[in-house]
């Protein structure tokens, strides 16, 4: 994609959301929890994100859709600096979390990740007991006494709608759970450190429909207290659970709006064609 075209797209976007934002309340009581500004990201020589500017609303579910390899996962991995794990990544631009640029050098990444939790594509429970999995996060923060941990574990598992299924076998290995249970365990694990934001990277892509439905119900519950950003391949899923939707294509954010707007009256032709199933 040429540079000229990419500039054009981001201008259009800025104009539009600028209009939209004017009607919102101003400084001091911002509706946004995460904002990215002119974000560019390279893996070695390949540019994976091009001028992405995006606002994420507090306590809402935001879905990112788009074809494979469009940069959705890369984008949300920027929000908790998970891309730091790889050493071939270069980033320019800014990401603000509650007004603080988290790409700054002074940022303590570990503390940031406590505020912004993440759920991965494949359930990745640690090879230890269910209890220890949930207690992993609190233990990092030096909460070690059982009398303090027990209520956290119970509360988190309840929030993740897993408590009833595992309360009698907390000392079993997490590996013995089914795929859907494992994913809910991972959600419970993330909730145990009380984050503000939950990043979900295609959390249901490796699960069967029943487990998926459970996770989706859970997300609907979670948005009362948390901001959820979910990457999904599944457009029905985006319409079912999200309040806002962003459509990405080849590393650019093509369109961002309320989910209703995107799926019923998309402004960009590209979006229309993708939602219409004409490519993807």
């Amino acid at each position: 994609m040429s540079i000229v075209k990419s500039k054009k797209i981001s201008e259009i976007y800025t104009e539009k959301s600028g209009k939209y934002i004017k009607s919102q309340p101003i400084i001091g009581d911002s509706p946004f929890i995460i904002q990215s500004k002119e974000l560019n990201l390279w893996y070695d020589e390949t540019q994976a994100l091009i001028n992405v500017s995006l606002n994420i609303y507090k306590n809402k579910v935001t879905a990112l859709i788009g074809p494979s390899g469009c940069g959705k996962s890369t984008l949300i991995r920027c929000f908790n600096r998970m891309n730091d794990v790889y050493d071939n990544v270069d980033i320019t631009g800014e990401i603000f979390y509650s007004g603080l640029n988290i790409l700054g050098k002074k940022i303590q990444v570990t503390k940031l990740r406590k505020k912004i939790g993440m759920i991965f594509q494949k359930p990745n429970p640690f090879p230890m007991t269910i209890y220890d999995n949930v207690a992993y996060g609190p233990r990092i923060q030096k909460i070690n006494r059982k009398c303090n941990l027990d209520p956290i574990v119970e509360k988190s598992l309840k929030k993740a709608a897993l408590w009833d299924e595992v309360k009698d076998r907390l000392d079993d290995s997490a590996i013995s759970l089914s795929g859907g249970q494992q994913q809910r365990l991972c959600i419970a694990r993330a909730l145990a450190i009380e984050p503000d934001v939950l990043l979900m990277d295609e959390p249901t892509s490796s699960l069967d429909p029943i487990a998926t439905a459970k996770i989706e119900n859970l997300i609907n519950e979670l948005k009362k207290k948390y901001t959820v950003i979910i990457v999904t391949h599944n457009m029905q899923q985006a319409t079912r659970i999200s309040d806002y939707t962003g459509f990405m294509y080849l590393g650019e954010l093509i369109e961002f709006d309320s989910t209703e707007q995107i799926f019923q009256k998309p402004k960009q032709d590209l979006t229309k064609r993708y939602i219409g199933g004409r490519f993807g």
Partner: protein
């Protein structure tokens, strides 16, 4: 003034709860210290290699004051005691011919067995065969030597009607058994690395199994198999004790050169026999260290070739390399590359056949039989293409089965000998009493305890260091030049013959420190020897911990050290334990590293401090069988005890290994 907002204006309010994100006190003291400590441990391998080279040159310095370098390299007489002649040629020839003979036997059998294990064997049999190969590699060299001395040389004496069976042939046969596991296991890895799609493609086009193997799989694994052969050669060249016990140790050049019944003395055997008999610092002593340098150079050259080949092999599989290669190559040169690959195949087959023919010549040494064999082979090559595919397959599979059978039989004969001869000797008295009458009578209690002390101590030193180095290599470093230097040093240490470790330990821990023969010196020497095994297995098991589990930990706000401590190391522990046990199995059977540094014969009490000498099983067996007439009975018992200890260790390692495999399989399926 009211500010309006756009997506690019950013709200500058900071809730107090996130203010602490900016505090820069992230790394605790421990986390800061981890990397330097690991780094130091990793550099340890480089330091050892450096000191090895340094000390050998230092000890050999002055070697050529009395004897010229030219006389050393070209002299055909090595009689240091009688004539003060120091010509290295007989020793170099001795090393060369025994190794060559060994490889002639090992290569075909090893490769055929590897094909069977990798491609043909049913799953259960595969496991058994792998264990057999592992066990063959675990049997102590002194036990092989003992077997060679008692059984093999006797057979050779009777079958060929010679005055003595101690000969080049005996040395080659014993070495071929010892190099076999290396050749087999590295070849199996190379064959397994061939993508299964290649095989499927060949079979899908209607090739039978042998055609798929010979035309697709073997050529793809060519460089891997070559690496296996070279590593096996390195193993054979570096072996000391077994060769020393069966080759007769006369420093003559076989005449004619093909006389396989001539006794020979190898470089390693010369070191093993003569070092204890020389005055430190004398001409003989310095000349022996000049020999060490020769041996070291040979080994380094061999290791470098293996390294180079396996790098090439790995690169071939690297998609990045393939892409580059494609770009560089214009379509026109396709023709050329085809010719080259055809040439390669031809070279491969011809080497294979030449080795075979030569092997026949040697092993029969009967010109008529050899001639007939050669003619038959020639006919096979000539008419091979005309033989129907099915018959070809049958012939090939027949050869493969007979190779497997030979490996199996060898193991049974060696183990059977040890067990049948050893069992009558074993009793509580034998296990729990002290030796009497130079070990002819009484028991081996102090030798068992001494061996356990030696191995225990070696593990105590090597494991922390090995885990730290492995951890550094797997987690805390990126590929750069220094990292490569560390890896090269580790590979080098891994290929260094055990007698070289023994001499290094002797110089550093016995002479430089002034301790003399001590338990501690033996433990340290063995520790250096098993260090590379532990580093490698640690690195591999750490790398096999999946990335997504680490990411899960990072996403919860864990820092690197916390993740390593809580997730990575616990998952890697079974693998590390396996590596450690294998290292112990190797350490307990080694004689060469401890014979100069720690062990003495016929001790009446247990060591009471780390600075007192000990007895050890392999050395006890060595002396009973070579220098104590009438020590036969107790030697059988000692060999059995040593073998059982090794068997227990290897059995444990295999159990652990299969547990890990089961665990990871389960993990994999459920996720």
């Amino acid at each position: 003034m009211v500010k309006t907002m756009s997506a690019t204006t950013v709200i500058k309010n900071k809730p107090s709860s996130i203010l602490d994100l900016e505090l820069k006190s992230e790394k605790s003291f421990t986390e800061k210290m981890v990397k330097p400590i690991l780094f130091f441990s990793a550099t340890f391998s480089i330091i050892i290699v450096f000191f090895q080279i340094f000390f050998f040159f230092q000890q050999a310095s002055g070697a050529f004051a009395e004897v010229s370098l030219w006389d050393f390299i070209t002299g055909t007489s090595w009689r240091p005691v009688e004539q003060q002649t120091y010509g290295a040629v007989p020793l170099i020839v001795g090393t060369f011919v025994t190794t060559l003979g060994a490889m002639i036997i090992t290569v075909p059998i090893g490769i055929l067995t590897a094909i069977y294990i990798a491609e043909l064997a049913p799953r259960k049999l595969k496991k058994i065969l792998k264990f057999i190969v592992e066990l063959l590699s675990g049997i102590p060299s002194v036990v092989y030597g003992y077997f060679g001395l008692i059984v093999l040389t006797n057979w050779i004496r009777i079958i060929f009607d010679r005055p003595t069976g101690q000969s080049w042939l005996a040395g080659s046969i014993i070495l071929s058994i010892m190099a076999l596991p290396t050749v087999i296991s590295v070849s199996v890895n190379a064959l397994n690395a061939v993508p299964v799609e290649y095989k499927e493609a060949a079979l899908g086009m209607g090739a039978n199994r042998w055609e798929a193997i010979s035309k697709v799989i073997l050529p793809s694994a060519f460089s891997g198999i070559t690496t296996a052969i070279i590593l096996g050669t390195g193993r054979a060249i570096g072996e000391t004790m077994a060769v020393l016990m069966v080759t007769g140790n006369t420093t003559i050049i076989p005449s004619p050169i093909t006389n396989i019944f001539s006794p020979v003395r190898t470089i390693t055997a010369a070191l093993g026999i003569e070092i204890p008999e020389t005055a430190i610092g004398g001409t003989h002593y310095t000349m022996l260290f000049a020999l060490v340098i020769v041996l070291y150079v040979i080994i380094i050259v061999i290791n470098s070739i293996a390294e180079f080949l396996s790098n090439k092999f790995n690169k071939k599989r690297d998609p990045k390399y393939l892409r580059k290669k494609k770009k560089k190559k214009p379509i026109l040169s396709l023709q050329k590359s085809k010719i080259i690959s055809r040439l390669n195949k031809k070279i491969f087959y011809s080497i294979f056949l030449h080795i075979f023919v030569f092997g026949l010549l040697l092993s029969w040494s009967n010109i008529w039989l050899a001639l007939i064999g050669t003619i038959i082979l020639f006919l096979i090559i000539k008419f091979y293409k005309r033989i129907p595919n099915k018959v070809q397959e049958k012939i090939a599979f027949g050869l493969i089965f007979s190779a497997v059978l030979m490996v199996f039989t060898t193991l049974i004969i060696v183990i059977g000998f040890v067990i049948i001869k050893g069992i009558p000797v074993i009793s509580w008295k034998f296990l729990l009493s002290y030796p009497r009458d130079l070990g002819r009578d009484g028991g081996i209690f102090p030798a068992i305890v001494g061996s356990l002390y030696l191995v225990g101590g070696a593990v105590l030193f090597a494991v922390p260091l090995g885990i730290a180095s492995g951890l550094y290599l797997a987690e805390y470093t990126k590929p750069n030049k220094f990292n490569r230097l560390i890896r090269m040093s580790i590979d080098n240490l891994n290929g260094t013959p055990s007698i070289v470790f023994g001499l290094f330990g002797f110089i550093v821990f016995c002479i430089l420190t002034g301790w003399g023969k001590t338990l501690l010196a033996g433990q340290l020497t063995l520790a250096l020897m098993i260090l590379p095994t532990i580093i490698r297995t640690t690195e591999q098991s750490i790398l096999s911990v999946p990335l997504d589990i680490r990411e899960g930990s990072y996403a919860l706000g864990a820092n690197k050290w916390y993740t390593v401590k809580k997730i990575v190391i616990p998952s890697a522990i079974p693998g590390i334990i396996t590596g450690t046990i294998l290292g112990m199995g190797r350490a307990i059977g080694e004689t060469a590293p401890i014979m100069f540094t720690a062990v003495v014969f016929n001790l009446r009490r247990l060591p009471n401090s780390p600075l007192s000498p000990v007895m050890a099983l392999p050395y006890h067996l060595f002396l009973l069988s070579t220098t104590v007439p009438g020590g036969q009975e107790n030697a059988y018992g000692t060999a059995l005890v040593l073998f059982v200890l090794v068997l227990i260790l290897y059995g444990m390692a295999t159990l652990f290994q299969s547990k890990i495999e089961k665990h990871s399989e389960k993990h994999f399926i459920l996720r």
